[in-house]
């Protein structure tokens, strides 16, 4: 949203007098707004966060991470063991039923894993299933998943990317039929789906008791796609909406000021950074000089930008990963905000009169503009190129981006293999192409011993910080707004567990 649009919107909303009666609690229905829409309820064919949230309440994975302790706990699997580096064995829970009454067995796991990891199926995010070599049924309640190569983060993908589908039903109705009437084992069953507009969930009475997820407390969840945040706020104020997520900071503050609503902010896996073309792959020379990169570090007042545009809970980071991710060592060299030092470094590098650089960004325009202003103060003329994400990603692939302000969501995977390892993998899009760094990250990605992984990642992150390759910025937070009757504690993985919502 453009700032002016937002400002006018805020002004309009300021005229509203909330004083509505909240209908939600009376008919046990929580109404939730999505800014975007659920594009496909067959979640394997969607890369949107909305479908992840939907899937988390309707389907179950074999295991999941307890959001409070970070430990692995069983869901559809009672337990799991690493037989060796390439074999995961799951003992499945018995007596679990799908929403349509089918029994859950090893056949469902075998079908789901083999069908969706088959490249011919063409899932939306192939890298989330590419590690699976095969799956084998040992008995009706025991399966073994084979890995192509050692991959310690595999369980993260078991949780986030591999919900278990009912094999017989899915084969009968096909992907399109399934998207219209999805069936899972989750705490909520699908009541209805209106593609692109919204969906309704009904609490599933037969939810299996042994699950790490809780049984749904609220009878009905209605999710509506309302693209304009101001309209969402109007719905909230008129009492027809109970829950909003990803509310922009300024709007969240406005709602807080009105009083009566619960406004909370929770950390997310997303983090921001400034990329620089260290290796000169775009043909841009200045960033090959470490002094120039350090000058950029010293020029950016990250705390000032955070304070101006983001929640105070958004932590500043020292490494280009999220501090919540496994292996994201924050104990590395840092560079404080010091424009004088920055100018001195530029002079030393022979850029006393500064230089011009195309600067790319795709979100948080005001922050990007503040960075450009700060760079200008030390003599670097960064020219803004504000693009849609897809257009910017294309330019990155084509080596046309010497400098950018980017963010990374890691697909909510709490492991450095989903973030830093993707940036410096030695491929065409690697800005640095330092073989030592790539090797260390690879070691971290494929070693099973957690201590050795941590050590490898720490060394890699130190190389990045010592070389001042990219500027780490902050970890994003998300704002949640709730009606006074609703009780919900958001989690850092942003899964928005509808089944953990309660009426006060």
């Amino acid at each position: 949203m453009k700032p002016i649009t937002r400002l006018l919107g805020c002004a309009a909303i300021a005229l509203a007098m909330p004083g509505a009666v909240f209908a939600g609690k009376a008919d046990d229905t929580v109404t939730v707004a999505f800014t975007r829409e659920l594009d496909n309820a067959d979640t394997y064919f969607s890369s949107a966060r909305e479908s992840t949230v939907f899937g988390y309440s309707v389907f179950d994975p074999l295991v999941e991470r307890d959001p409070k302790t970070g430990e692995w706990v069983g869901n559809l699997a009672e337990s799991f063991t690493w037989v060796d580096d390439l074999t995961l064995e799951f003992v499945l829970r018995q007596g679990v039923k799908f929403h349509n009454g089918d029994d859950f067995t090893a056949d469902d796991v075998v079908y789901t894993y083999s069908h969706f990891s088959d490249p011919a199926t063409g899932v939306a995010m192939p890298n989330t299933v590419a590690w699976i070599a095969g799956v084998e049924k040992l008995d009706p309640y025991k399966v073994r998943v084979k890995l192509k190569a050692p991959f310690p983060a595999a369980l993260d993908y078991v949780e986030s990317a591999l919900p278990i589908y009912p094999a017989a039903y899915y084969q009968k109705v096909g992907s399109a039929g399934f998207a219209q009437k999805p069936v899972g084992t989750g705490p909520y069953a699908v009541g209805s789906i209106d593609p692109g507009r919204g969906f309704t969930l009904k609490a599933f009475d037969g939810y299996h008791a042994g699950s790490s997820k809780s049984k749904a407390a609220i009878g009905t969840v209605v999710v509506r796609s309302i693209p304009d945040v101001n309209t969402q706020i109007a719905e909230l104020f008129s009492g027809s909406l109970d829950f909003m997520w990803n509310v922009p900071e300024d709007q969240a503050q406005k709602i807080k000021a009105k009083g009566g609503y619960t406004v909370t902010s929770a950390p997310t896996v997303r983090f921001g950074y400034i990329s620089m073309d260290v290796s000169g792959r775009t043909g841009f020379e200045p960033f090959k000089d470490q002094r120039v990169r350090e000058a950029v570090y010293h020029a950016i007042d990250r705390a000032a930008i955070r304070d101006a545009f983001f929640a105070p809970e958004a932590v500043l980071t020292n490494s280009v990963c999220n501090p919540m991710q496994f292996g994201c060592d924050q104990n590395v060299k840092t560079y404080d905000y010091d424009p004088e030092k920055s100018k001195a470094l530029l002079k030393e590098a022979g850029y006393e009169k500064g230089f011009e650089v195309p600067f790319f960004a795709y979100r948080d325009r005001q922050s990007a503009e503040a960075m450009i202003q700060m760079l200008a103060e030390v003599g670097i003329t960064a020219n803004m190129n504000y693009l849609k994400y897809a257009a910017l990603a294309e330019k990155v692939l084509k080596s046309e981006v010497p400098m950018s302000f980017m963010t990374w969501g890691s697909g909510s995977i709490l492991d450095v293999s989903a973030s830093t390892s993707k940036f410096f993998d030695g491929s065409a899009i690697d800005d640095v192409k330092n073989p030592d760094l790539t090797a260390l990250l690879k070691t971290g990605d494929t070693t099973t011993d957690p201590a050795k992984r941590k050590e490898a990642y720490s060394k890699a992150l130190n190389i990045i910080a010592d070389g001042a390759y990219w500027v780490p910025l902050w970890a994003y937070t998300a704002n949640y707004v709730m009606s006074p009757d609703l009780d919900f504690a958001p989690t850092p993985d942003e899964y928005v567990r509808f089944f953990e919502m309660n009426w006060k």
Partner: protein, 294 residues
């Protein structure tokens, strides 16, 4: 002629969409690696030469098959048919509102040029042209949905959901219709045959409606037809503010995520609307004005 225009539009839009960005990158999402993008490019046939892709699309489109939306994984024709209903209802309501408000106001203003009524009408017209529709929509939402609680703020669950969007969309077309009615009426009212009619003692009401309005309204009809085309293709903002999820909103969404088949089909449909309504305007004009029939 109309078919040629449609064909040209489809070729230009196809080329423009490709210039705007690689659809495979958009589809691959945030955490995609270059090989994943290449895989998707091959899967959807985006690696073929552009003319081949266009001809393939055209061959299918001519048979009514617009392909499958890679986002919704639904046939585009099904997707659009579902969304077009809302847009059509809104368009018809919007243009009706504009005519019901614009024409009487134009007539009133023309009867007494530079009077208080004329000034008030001018004010409304200027405001209508100047105010951004999303802002006007929000003001109406705050007033009627939040503060008074009479109407829903968003959604198309019942007829009530269409009241505010109709006003917002219709108001946008009102000033032009009103100003054109006013100008036409002033011109006609000053013409010789009206003076003759007055001299003959024809009742003022009859002069106004039978002799004057019928002639003054001819350009308004063609304007309204063109505006109707605009309403069907241009209700993006209104649909977004009121969460109506019509074809306009779908078009905007498709652009932002490079959903090629959906964009291509919508552009074609919208241009066909324009062509149809421009043609309709000509037909209506000929029917209303006997001189044009020769």
């Amino acid at each position: 002629m109309a078919a040629l225009v449609a064909l040209t539009v489809s070729i230009i839009s196809f080329a423009l969409i490709y210039m705007a960005g690689d659809p495979a990158v958009a589809l691959a999402g945030e955490n995609a690696t270059p090989d994943v993008v290449a895989q998707i490019r091959a899967q959807y046939g985006y690696d073929r030469p552009l003319p081949v892709q266009y001809l393939d699309w055209l061959a299918h489109a001519l048979r009514g098959d617009f392909g499958t939306s890679p986002y919704f994984r639904l046939p585009v024709s099904e997707l659009i048919a579902d969304r077009l209903e809302v847009t059509m209802i809104l368009g018809v309501l919007g243009i009706s509102f504009a005519l019901l408000v614009g024409v009487p106001m134009g007539v009133l203003a023309a009867m007494r040029p530079n009077s208080l009524i004329d000034r008030a009408a001018l004010f409304i017209a200027v405001v209508g042209q100047a105010i951004p529709s999303f802002w006007f929509g929000l003001i109406l939402i705050v007033l009627f949905a939040v503060n008074l609680g009479w109407l829903p703020a968003s959604g198309a669950d019942s007829w009530k959901g269409f009241v505010l969007p109709t006003i917002v969309l219709g108001y946008y077309a009102t000033p032009a219709i009103m100003r054109l009615t006013r100008a036409g009426m002033i011109e006609v009212l000053g013409s010789d045959y009206i003076r003759t009619a007055r001299a003959k003692g024809v009742k003022p009401r009859k002069i106004l409606f039978k002799h004057a309005l019928r002639n003054a309204v001819i350009p308004v009809v063609s304007l309204a037809a063109v505006q109707m085309g605009f309403m069907l293709g241009g209700s993006i903002v209104t649909e977004s503010v009121f969460a109506l999820h019509g074809a306009g909103y779908l078009a905007w969404q498709s652009i932002s995520r490079n959903d090629l088949p959906t964009m291509q089909a919508l552009i074609l449909i919208f241009s066909l609307f324009y062509i149809f309504f421009t043609f309709l305007a000509d037909v209506l004009n000929a029917w209303l004005d006997p001189r044009l029939r020769k």
